[in-house]
């Protein structure tokens, strides 16, 4: 396997939330590298800190302690403008709850980040049409999110995340609010993009979804509980991969 470059790195990463007088340590001293072109899945129980970790790696949340690097730049020390620029140009984010802007059409939702990033109108439109075609939502572009299905909304959200051709695509349980068929379609899209070189970091509970990954990181109590390396997908069939993940996760849960 070729040595890939590290695109996101976390060093001694911590996140603590306060609730009254109590403190909740969501992420504790995490060291992690995400490689370019890699499909990384983060798994863990509810409340284990996997989403918090994703938010920290993507620069959507402030760290309590530690460092987060995007290539050789420390994003946890970015000022507001740099951070906004980073979010606009270097990352794309897909949410479980989809989070399309309800008052904007699907077209406006998809193109909005392009305008925020200051891209040319024609370039945005070309890219948006291309993504709409890829995602199969061409017929929905003039509609409001409420006028489309959950799967169509999530595909629109993926298109929105990809409009600026981000270096890393973060996905927080992207199939969590979808039915089985819609979920599979979304995962196929993510896998396809990864095959084309897109770096993907995805949080999921779903073992079938995790099968798509090159590497699985298990989070427990805010710490990395274990890492499972698969290599590229062709090395192992899906059933074997599911069995391996099940065994790995079961072992980690018992520990």
């Amino acid at each position: 396997m070729l040595e890939r470059q590290v695109i996101i790195a976390a060093r001694n990463l911590c996140k603590t939330y306060s609730a009254g007088n109590e403190q909740y340590h969501a992420v504790r001293n995490v060291d992690l590298d995400i490689h370019e072109g890699e499909f990384t899945v983060i798994m863990g129980n509810s409340g284990s800190g996997k989403s918090s970790l994703l938010y920290l790696l993507s620069g959507l949340d402030n760290v309590t302690a530690g460092e987060v690097y995007f290539r050789d730049r420390r994003i946890d020390q970015f000022g507001e403008r740099e951070l906004s620029d980073f979010r606009a140009k270097n990352i794309g984010y897909i949410y479980q709850s989809i989070n399309l802007v309800p008052d904007l059409t699907i077209w406006d939702n998809v193109t909005l980040p392009g305008y925020i990033a200051g891209q040319k109108k024609e370039a945005i439109a070309t890219r948006a049409r291309e993504l709409a075609h890829t995602m199969g939502i061409e017929g929905q572009l003039g509609r409001l999110p409420s006028q489309t299905s959950g799967g169509q909304q999530q595909r629109a959200a993926i298109a929105r995340a990809l409009i600026n051709s981000p270096d890393v695509l973060f996905a927080d349980e992207p199939t969590g609010s979808l039915n089985y068929d819609q979920g599979v379609a979304v995962l196929d899209l993510l896998s396809g993009m990864n095959k084309d070189g897109q770096t993907v970091v995805m949080v999921t509970h779903d073992i079938k979804a995790a099968c798509r990954a090159d590497r699985l990181i298990y989070i427990r109590d805010g710490k990395i509980g274990g890492i499972l390396e698969f290599g590229k997908q062709g090395d192992m069939n899906t059933n074997d991969r599911e069995a391996l993940i099940f065994s790995f996760v079961s072992q980690k849960v018992r520990v």
């Binding site: 959507l60 979010r87 802007v101 008052d103 909005l112 305008y115 925020i116 109108k121 929105r160």
Partner: protein, 806 residues
């Protein structure tokens, strides 16, 4: 980025159309009020000044009725003075008792003028209706607007005046603006006649003709120096009557001050409320869109850029509201100005409206203020953390606050076990959004204070009969104004009064001009420019001020010959208190008098003084001005009969009316000028109250829609839930009306007095009417109730499932 901001701003505008429409309406109303008030205040002096300038208006008008001076000699002397312009020496004869379309017009005292052959250089007439030439055609007259409009006299109408046992019938051929005699509440009018008509019908009447001369100074402040020179040159001070500039201008200025003050107050209050409401709406919008804002930030939007769509939204809304508000304000202001200065209205008045520049500045300021408030309140959007916002839909702080409020509702005893269900729901609704609750409380307080002030002003004007003395007038049951002094049979009149068993007493009042100086100034300094001297209108009463119902603000009426009571303006200018001495120059003779009291009078802006007849005669033994007789009757119900009897005998030379008739004419004009604009403003304020409470309650209901959905799902009727919410609002509104009433009765009149103090009114004669105050309170509570009830319609119209999902 601009495209993104534009798209978001547009989406904010499209979403919540009703809320946006309310905000726009609120901005429109407040901009309308402040712009209107600005234009009115700008025009308060301007309309009068402009007309006074345009007509080359006189500053003083001299009338020669006592044959104490040679009018031509006086005119000649003034014509020779640099810096003074004079009118023609005009002949006139005073008449009263005008009949128009079979109806007597009471309390109107006419100077029948011989129209000068040349265009007058001072006090030029401006035609508003009809055509004028050099003079009216034979058999026709020109009448002033101040006579035509209140009495409803139109062009072509005939009026008739009893003269020498016959009727003088004349047709109105023109209506003209006559500035010195055209003020609101004026009861004198100059009627301009054809020369031949005057010669044949008027000049030969008993008493013959008198003369009138108008003086215009290049610098009115120099007038005293000229009068000193006059006294030196003539060997005597001016002993005839003189109308001062303050008397000419006071009623023009004071009314617009009152209207302007109330509008500025209302406008400022409404603007503050509108700004707070906008801030509150933005806060609510941010709270409701917290997750979406988090998404924007996660997409790379900067904190500053998250504010810009709000600026765009409210900037567009404000612009859309302020532009028509400005246009409307010019119309509304013109209507009010025309109403309060109707006698100055000319066909070209529309283009002559002043203060548009100031109103534009005010409108821009309103716009900038809205944007500033948006920036301040939208700051919250800057602090949105994407992760927190997307996961929880609110900040940690808000989450804690929500929890603490919920706990607070329980800790304050607002529990379902402790209170009836409706009361608990109503009060908990108020605790959902404390800022909104505080705004509603302030709003109901201000609305009720404004309505209370309106009702106090209304009841004070309506009850002016009880407070005439505090406005500087007498309180006698009737007054007989001598119209034709030369022909008036004084002895016969007095005998009639003395023999009438219904009459309890009477007193004569005369007026003349005097000059006052501080008692500490030596007499040889009187010509010094530095000597604090001023000219004033001196009232001389033969009889008791006390018995004829005059009033002082402090001290007593003059009783002895060396006693004087002075108007507040005089007291202020000369720093005098009761007990001080004051030097008064009466007919050129200096006399030192003791100030016994201080009073206020709307006429002359309190630039006047009162002395006894003995006091005047001691200085000026030839004084014989007896202009008005104040008459008291034993039984006030008989006043009309007494007046009718007296009119039967003396109508041709005197205008005799009851106090009720006099005050009715004042009240009718005041109603037209003050009450209607104020009612309009009160309505606007009620509309704003309704809108804001509707809007705030709507936000509250949306915040708690899940709760109300659950209440519905467990069996409460929507009517009961809505009733409970309205109950809470009514309780809140009621708590606001109590301090509001106190504010309306005790604080706002004081502010109004501060505005009017420059016009000689330092203490508003307020009449409190419990019924109308209670009505004002009920109306503001009712507006709050209706706003709340209308806003909760969504609970009735929406299913529990949708409410809980929302």
């Amino acid at each position: 980025m601009i495209t993104a901001i534009w798209k978001l701003g547009k989406s904010y505008l499209v979403k919540n159309k009703v809320q946006n429409a309310f905000v726009a309406l609120l901005v429109l109303l407040s901009a309308l009020l402040v712009c209107t008030a600005t234009i009115i205040v700008s025009n308060t002096g301007d309309r009068f000044d402009e007309m006074h300038m345009r007509t080359n208006g006189s500053h003083q008008i001299l009338t020669f009725e006592k044959k104490l001076h040679d009018p031509e000699a006086v005119q000649h002397w003034w014509q020779s003075q640099q810096g003074v312009q004079t009118s023609d020496l005009m002949r006139y004869h005073t008449l009263s008792g005008i009949v128009h379309q079979g109806k007597d017009i009471p309390n109107l005292y006419m100077f029948m003028m011989e129209t000068p052959k040349n265009t007058p250089s001072v006090d030029q007439l401006i035609v508003t209706e009809g055509k004028t030439g050099v003079e009216p055609a034979p058999g026709t007259i020109w009448i002033p607007t101040s006579m035509a409009y209140p009495a409803g006299i139109s062009l072509g109408d005939e009026i008739s005046i009893p003269v020498d046992g016959t009727k003088l019938e004349l047709q109105v051929s023109a209506i003209v603006v006559d500035v010195p005699y055209g003020a609101p509440f004026s009861n004198t009018a100059r009627v301009w006649m054809n020369h031949e008509d005057y010669e044949t019908r008027i000049d030969g009447l008993d008493g013959g003709s008198n003369f009138l001369l108008g003086l215009r100074f290049d610098n009115y402040g120099d007038n005293l120096a000229y009068w000193h020179s006059f006294s030196s040159a003539m060997g005597t001070p001016f002993l005839e009557s003189k109308m001062e500039f303050e008397e000419i201008s006071s009623f023009y200025l004071i009314i617009n001050q009152i209207v302007g003050f109330i509008m500025i107050f209302l406008g400022a209050v409404m603007l503050i409320i509108a700004l707070l409401t906008i801030g509150f709406t933005i806060s609510d919008g941010i709270l409701a869109n917290y997750r979406t804002i988090g998404v924007y930030k996660s997409l790379g939007m900067t904190s500053r850029a998250t504010i810009l769509p709000y600026l765009l939204q409210y900037g567009l809304l404000s612009a859309a509201a302020i532009l028509p508000a400005f246009a409307l304000s010019t119309v509304l202001a013109k209507m009010i100005i025309d109403l309060s200065a109707s006698s100055l209205r000319t066909p070209s008045s529309g283009s002559a409206i002043q203060g548009l520049g100031a109103a534009v500045i005010v409108a821009i300021m309103v716009f900038v203020l809205v944007l500033l408030f948006v920036v301040v309140y939208a700051r919250r959007a800057r602090a949105v953390m994407p992760a927190q916002a997307i996961r929880y839909g609110m900040s940690e702080g808000d989450s804690k606050l929500l929890l603490s409020r919920s706990n607070a509702a329980d800790s304050t005893g607002i529990r379902f076990g402790h209170l009836p269900v409706s009361a608990a729901i109503g009060l908990r609704n108020l605790l959902i959004n404390r800022k909104g609750t505080v705004i509603m409380l302030i709003l109901t307080m201000l609305a009720s204070s404004v309505l209370t002030l309106g009702s106090v002003v209304l009841s004070s004007i309506g009850g002016i009969q009880g407070t005439a003395a505090q406005w500087g007038y007498d309180s006698a049951n009737a007054a007989a104004m001598v119209v034709n002094k030369s022909a008036f049979p004084y002895d016969e009149f007095e005998q009639t009064l003395a023999s009438d068993s219904r009459i309890s007493g009477y007193g004569w009042q005369g007026n003349m001009t005097a000059i006052v100086q501080s008692g500490s100034v030596a007499s040889d300094q009187q010509n010094s420019a530095s000597a604090p001297a001023s000219s004033l209108s001196l009232s001389i009463l033969e009889g008791s001020y006390e018995e004829l119902g005059f009033a002082n603000l402090e001290g007593d009426h003059p009783v002895l010959r060396n006693e004087i009571s002075i108007g507040v303006q005089v007291a202020r200018n000369l720093n005098k208190q009761p007990g001080d001495t004051i030097d008064v120059y009466i007919a050129g003779q200096r006399v030192t008098m003791i100030v016994t009291g201080i009073y206020q009078a709307i006429a002359n802006m309190s630039n006047s003084a009162r002395i006894t007849m003995e006091g005047a005669l001691a200085v000026y033994p030839d004084f014989n001005n007896r202009d008005v007789a104040f008459i008291n009757v034993f039984n006030p119900k008989e006043a009309n009969a007494v007046v009718s009897d007296l009119n039967g005998r003396f109508k041709e030379t005197a205008s005799i009316v009851t106090q009720g008739t006099l005050l009715d004419s004042v009240y009718n004009q005041a109603s037209a000028i003050l009450v209607y604009p104020m009612s309009l403003m009160g309505l606007l304020f009620l509309l704003a109250t309704f809108l804001i409470i509707y809007s705030t309650c709507r936000i509250n209901i949306r915040l708690a829609s899940k709760t109300y959905g659950i209440y519905k799902s467990i069996g409460m009727t929507s009517g009961r839930i809505r009733g409970a919410i309205a109950l809470g609002i009514v309780a809140l509104a009621f708590s606001g009306t109590i301090p509001g009433i106190v504010l309306g009765i005790f604080v706002l009149p004081v502010l109004l007095e501060m505005v009017l103090s420059g016009y000689g009114i330092v203490s508003l004669p307020v009449i409190l009417n419990g019924g109308s105050i209670a009505l004002a309170a009920i109306i503001s509570v009712a507006a709050a109730f209706l706003g709340s009830w209308a806003s909760s319609k969504v609970i009735r119209d929406t299913s529990p499932r949708i409410l809980t999902i929302e």
